[in-house]
């Protein structure tokens, strides 16, 4: 009985503490976005030209030669 009570307290404590103390401020922070920064578009563009490997950035965003 005592063990069940302890488990219940721990479980409730776990539930309430997680839901009350967890916050979104870390995940929604602008530095946490999973896509490339807009300003990285230029870096990505020249690397696309200078290196034969490309992709895994969410698909090609535009056309263009890249032959210089």
């Amino acid at each position: 009985m005592k063990q069940k009570f302890t488990i219940a307290i721990v479980a409730i404590f776990g539930l309430t503490s997680c839901s009350s103390t967890r916050n979104l401020s870390y995940i929604t922070d602008s530095e946490m976005m999973l896509s490339m920064r807009k300003i990285e578009k230029f870096d990505n563009n020249f690397l696309l030209y200078r290196e034969g490997a490309s992709g895994a950035n969410g698909g090609k965003s535009g056309g263009g030669c890249g032959c210089n």
């Binding site: 776990g14 999973l34 920064r37 210089n68």
Partner: protein, 397 residues
Amino acid sequence: MLKFKLSTLFVLFSILVSSAQFIVVSDSIKYKKKTLSFDEANLLTSVYYQDGNHSGVTGGIGTESLFDNSNIFDVKFVSQSITGKKKAIGMEIGVDFYTSASSDNIDFRKSSASSQDVRFYPSLSYSVENQIKKQTLGAKASFSSEYDYKSVGGGLQYAKTFNKGMTDIQGSINGFYDSYLLILPIELRTSGNKRYSSTPRRSFDGSLSISHIMSERVQLSLIMDLAYQSGLLSTPFHRVYANDGSLLREILPSTRLKTPLGLRVNAFVTEKLLLRTFYRYFQDDWGMVAHTVQVEAPIKVSSKLSLSPSIRYHQQSGIDYFEPYQMASPTAEFRSSDYDLSNFKSYTVGMNVRILPFKQLYKSYSIAAIEIRPSYYHRSDGMSAGIIAAHIQFKKM
């Protein structure tokens, strides 16, 4: 013992359930109607310079000196309906100005038209987000024009959030129909006219990404791409010097299939320090295999300033058809002396400075962010480059 295991599992399950509950959004939200209005605009500019001594235009030897100034302006308008549908229209205009010493060597006449060019690339996008079903459907059209190259593109994308906001899945497909003016090196032209026929190049790519919030401080994204190209995939004015001394032009297969796979993991390490990491594995059917790792460590100096030093390492094996200067067989079906397709290692170091001034300009329009990003790039074949980019974001607060 069994009781202990069951109780431990129960506690772990409770914690897992609780961890999945912190992003629950109530379905009883009342949406306020809003007509189409300005949401945000971005002004971006960059200056890029490179130099090296392995230009494909001169067969793997000669200057690679290039200067480029890129400018992009984009603007987004949004509307909101009472049924929970958010529509967004985006417009983007890009203009690049560049001078290229290697392109100038197509005809060996210094300061000729080939030494400089302008690239103009507008695009238009439209998306509808269903905030109740938590899904977004979008479409995009793009155009790009430079002296010897035109590109028309279109794409569709879909995104869905589920698992109580913890998981996000995004898919997109794009198609580009390009036409390439077949300009050959001057020694290989058969007529006095340097303009030859226009040749098509088609590109299709599909991308699927799954993002997941691992904890309140960690989230990751797995990105799978598949890209297929057909048509003229070589650069017609690239020279190749064969091992018998003869001069040829670059010829590459008319199709290419690329299969990159990427993983991004972002995490708050401390209250002031984050890690943004990226790894990509790349493979194609021309024999290239590449690995790319990037680590960026944003440091929150204050609530309005963050500094993000970054380092990127890349290594790739050359394509099967690459041969250095005077090494190609004159009878080879495919050949290239373009060092962008060779075996090399490269590193990039940079710093992203981000300022959040929230400076009110007019009514509720504000400067939301200012960024400056200098980077230095070095490749093991001796090529190096420097770039400095700047970004100003305007938002309606």
